[in-house]
C-alpha cells in the first residue's frame, strides 16, 4: 500500500492571550492509499488540529507533511486552497449544508468553487451512492440528521478527492445512522479512498483499519485492527 500522507514530526501551537497551547507535538504518521484510519482521544487531545493540519486547513509550525507526493509545508494560503480542492473532501460533525440549497445544489457547490460544472449524472450518482437520491430536491431542513450527513459525504466526494477527512462525522447521529455512515466510509475505502476519521466511539473505531490515539497533542497508541 503506497503512502498517501506522510507526516514527519509535525507540530502546531496556538496563542491564547499570553499562553501558548501546543495542540499537536512531534507527530509522525504515514497513511496508506485506501486506508481507513480513526483518530481517537479526549476533547482537547489534538484530534481536530491534526485533521486540520493534514487537511491543509491549518499550516504546520514545524515538521514536514507530504500529501500525494507533494510537500505542502510553506505553501501560501491560496496554494493550499487549490491543493485542498484537488486532494481533500471534508465531512464535519455539524454538516454545514447550505440551508437554502437543495441536496442536489449542495453537492454541486464544490464544482462552483473549482470552476467546474459538475454533470447532473455525476451528482445523482453520488446521491445514489450515499442513499439519498430520492431527496435530491429537498432542503436540509426537510431531511433527517442521517440524510444530511449523507449529503455532506456526497458533497465531499463531488470533486473525486483521494482523501476524505471526517471530524466527528457521527457525533450528531443516532447509532443506526452512525453505523450506516461508517459503512459508507468503509465502502469508499474499499474503492481506494483514504479515510481519516476523528471519533469518540470505540465501537466505530474498531471497524477502521487502524486506530491512532492522541493525548495532549502526542500519539499514545497507533495500532492496526
Amino acid at each position: 500500500m503506497s503512502d498517501t500522507i506522510i507526516a514527519k514530526g509535525i507540530s502546531k501551537s496556538f496563542k491564547r492571550g499570553t499562553e501558548t497551547i501546543h495542540a499537536i507535538q512531534d507527530i509522525s504518521l504515514n497513511i496508506g492509499k485506501g486506508e481507513m484510519l480513526s483518530i481517537m482521544g479526549r476533547s482537547g487531545s489534538g484530534k481536530t488540529t491534526l485533521l486540520s493540519c493534514i487537511g491543509m486547513l491549518e499550516n504546520i509550525d514545524s515538521g514536514s507533511l507530504v500529501l500525494e507526493g507533494r510537500n505542502i509545508k510553506d505553501l501560501s494560503e491560496a496554494q493550499r486552497t487549490i491543493l485542498r480542492r484537488e486532494l481533500m473532501g471534508f465531512v464535519f460533525q455539524r454538516f454545514f449544508l447550505i440551508p437554502t440549497l437543495t441536496a442536489y445544489e449542495n453537492v454541486a457547490l464544490p464544482g462552483l468553487f473549482a470552476g467546474k460544472k459538475l454533470g447532473k449524472d455525476h451528482i445523482m450518482e453520488l446521491l445514489e451512492m450515499v442513499g439519498v437520491s430520492q431527496r435530491y430536491d429537498h432542503r436540509p431542513g426537510q431531511m433527517s440528521g442521517g440524510e444530511m450527513q449523507r449529503v455532506a459525504i456526497a458533497r465531499a466526494l463531488a470533486l473525486d478527492p483521494p482523501v476524505i477527512i471526517a471530524d466527528e462525522p457521527t457525533g450528531n447521529l443516532d447509532t443506526a445512522n452512525a453505523e450506516a455512515v461508517f459503512g459508507l466510509f468503509r465502502k469508499l475505502a474499499s474503492q481506494g479512498k483514504t479515510i481519516i476519521i476523528a471519533t469518540h466511539s470505540q465501537k466505530l473505531a474498531k471497524d477502521c483499519d487502524r486506530v491512532v490515539e492522541l493525548m495532549d497533542g502526542r500519539i499514545t497508541r497507533d495500532e492496526k485492527n
Binding site: S52, E105, L109
Partner: protein, 382 residues
C-alpha cells in the same frame, strides 16, 4: 449552480431581514430618484413655462416682482394695478417688438359656478403665446377655454358659457398639453375689464424684445416709465432657482440621512448574516472556495439586496412623482405649473447604479470579514 443563485439563496435565508433591508433601500432609492427628478424637472418646467409665456420682459404692478411673475407663469389671481395708458410709452420704448396687455382675476364660471382664473388679453396675446393654439384674437362676448376646464365641464366650441351670470360663446379650446394654463378661461381684454369692474386697468404687460440678448438694456429703458415695475425673465428665472435651491438642500439632507439609515441597515443585516454563517463559510473555504470567491459572493448578496431595493424605489418613484411634485410645490414660495419632478430612464439608471454602489460599500466590512473566515471555522471545537 452559480454565484448569483448562491448569493440570492443566501439572502433568502433571513426573509424578514431581506424584506426589511429592501424596504429601507427602497425608501432611500425613492428619495434619490425624486431628488434627481426634481433637479431635472424643475428647471425644465420653469423653462417650459417661460417659453410658453413668450415674453422677455414683464411689466407688473409695484410690489414683489417675483411673486407677480410667478402668478403670471402659473396662472393665478393678480391685482390689476397697471394703468392701461402706460401701454403707449412701453410700445414706444426702443427695442420693444410686441406688447400684450393682460388682466387677470377670478370669477365663478360654468354650470357649477366654480371659481376659475379669468385672463383678459388683447389682440397680440395669441401671437405671443402660439402654443395655446388660438388662431385669432378674442372677440367681445367670446371666451376660449383651457383644455382641462373644457374637459371637466364637457364643453365644446360654439357652446354657451356662463361667467358670473353673463353668457359668452366658446370660440376656441386650447390644444391639449400645449401649455400649462389648462385651467384658465381666456377672453377679450375689454370684456374682462368690464367683467372684473376694472376698466382702464391691467394686471401685467407681456413684452417681447427685438433681441433677447438686449433684454436688460430694454428693461432699463422701461424702468424710466413712472409707476411701472419691470422684471426680465432671466432675473426671474435666477431668483426662482435660488428659492428652489433651498428646497433642494433640504431634500438632499433628508436623502443623506435616509442613505445613512439604509447603509446601517445593510451593514447590520450582512454583519449578522456573516456572523451566523461562520461555520458554513468555513465549510466553503474547506471545500476549496478562495477568500476572493467568498468576498465576491458576499458582495453579490449586497448588490442583489441593493438591486431589489432600488427597483422597488424606482417603481414607487415613477408612481409617486406627481404627488411628490404637488407636495414640494406647496412648500415652495413660487414654482412653475405642471410637474416639477421629471423622472426618466436616465434618473432610473443613475439611481440603480448609485444604490447598488452604496449597498456594496455599506456591506464591504462584513464581506471582508466573511472572506477572512478560516476554513477551520467548520471544524468542531477542541
Amino acid at each position: 449552480m452559480s454565484f448569483i443563485k448562491l448569493a440570492f439563496k443566501g439572502l433568502l435565508r433571513r426573509p424578514a431581514g431581506f424584506i426589511a433591508s429592501c424596504l429601507t433601500i427602497a425608501i432611500a432609492s425613492l428619495v434619490l430618484i425624486l431628488s434627481l427628478g426634481l433637479s431635472q424637472g424643475y428647471d425644465s418646467a420653469l423653462i417650459s413655462n417661460i417659453d410658453n409665456l413668450g415674453a422677455n420682459i414683464l411689466a407688473i404692478p409695484k410690489g414683489c416682482p417675483y411673486e407677480a411673475t410667478g402668478v403670471i407663469l402659473s396662472g393665478g389671481n393678480l391685482r390689476y394695478a397697471v394703468a392701461e395708458n402706460q401701454l403707449e410709452p412701453i410700445k414706444k420704448t426702443g427695442g420693444v417688438k410686441i406688447v400684450s396687455a393682460v388682466i387677470m382675476g377670478q370669477r365663478a364660471v360654468g354650470p357649477y359656478k366654480k371659481v376659475h382664473v379669468i385672463v383678459g388679453a388683447d389682440e397680440n396675446y395669441h401671437l405671443m403665446r402660439p402654443k395655446l393654439g388660438f388662431k385669432k384674437p378674442f372677440a367681445e362676448n367670446e371666451v376660449a377655454l383651457g383644455y382641462k376646464i373644457s374637459q371637466v365641464l364637457s364643453t365644446k366650441v360654439g357652446d354657451d358659457f356662463d361667467i358670473a351670470g353673463r353668457t359668452y360663446k366658446i370660440a376656441a379650446i386650447a390644444d391639449k398639453g400645449s401649455t400649462e394654463d389648462e385651467d384658465l378661461v381666456f377672453m377679450n381684454l375689454k370684456s374682462a375689464q368690464k367683467l372684473l369692474k376694472a376698466e382702464g386697468m391691467l394686471s401685467s404687460v407681456l413684452i417681447q424684445v427685438d433681441d433677447p440678448a438686449q433684454s436688460d438694456t430694454v428693461a432699463k429703458r422701461l424702468m424710466t416709465i413712472p409707476d411701472l415695475q419691470v422684471i426680465t425673465i432671466g432675473d426671474f428665472q435666477a431668483t426662482i432657482s435660488d428659492f428652489v435651491s433651498g428646497a433642494r438642500i433640504a431634500i438632499f439632507s433628508v436623502l443623506i440621512i435616509i442613505i445613512l439609515i439604509a447603509s446601517v441597515g445593510i451593514l447590520t443585516t450582512q454583519a449578522s448574516s456573516v456572523a451566523e454563517r461562520k461555520g458554513e463559510i468555513g465549510m466553503m473555504r474547506a471545500m476549496g472556495a478562495t477568500s476572493g470567491q467568498v468576498l465576491f459572493e458576499s458582495t453579490l448578496e449586497s448588490a442583489i439586496l441593493g438591486f431589489f431595493g432600488a427597483i422597488v424605489g424606482i417603481v414607487l418613484g415613477f408612481a409617486l412623482s406627481s404627488s411628490a411634485s404637488e407636495l414640494i410645490k406647496k412648500s415652495l414660495p413660487q414654482s412653475p405649473s405642471g410637474s416639477i419632478i421629471s423622472i426618466g430612464w436616465t434618473s432610473a439608471i443613475m439611481t440603480l447604479a448609485i444604490v447598488i454602489a452604496i449597498s456594496i460599500l455599506a456591506a464591504y466590512g462584513p464581506a471582508k470579514n466573511a472572506a477572512s473566515t478560516k476554513p477551520t471555522e467548520a471544524a468542531s471545537d477542541e
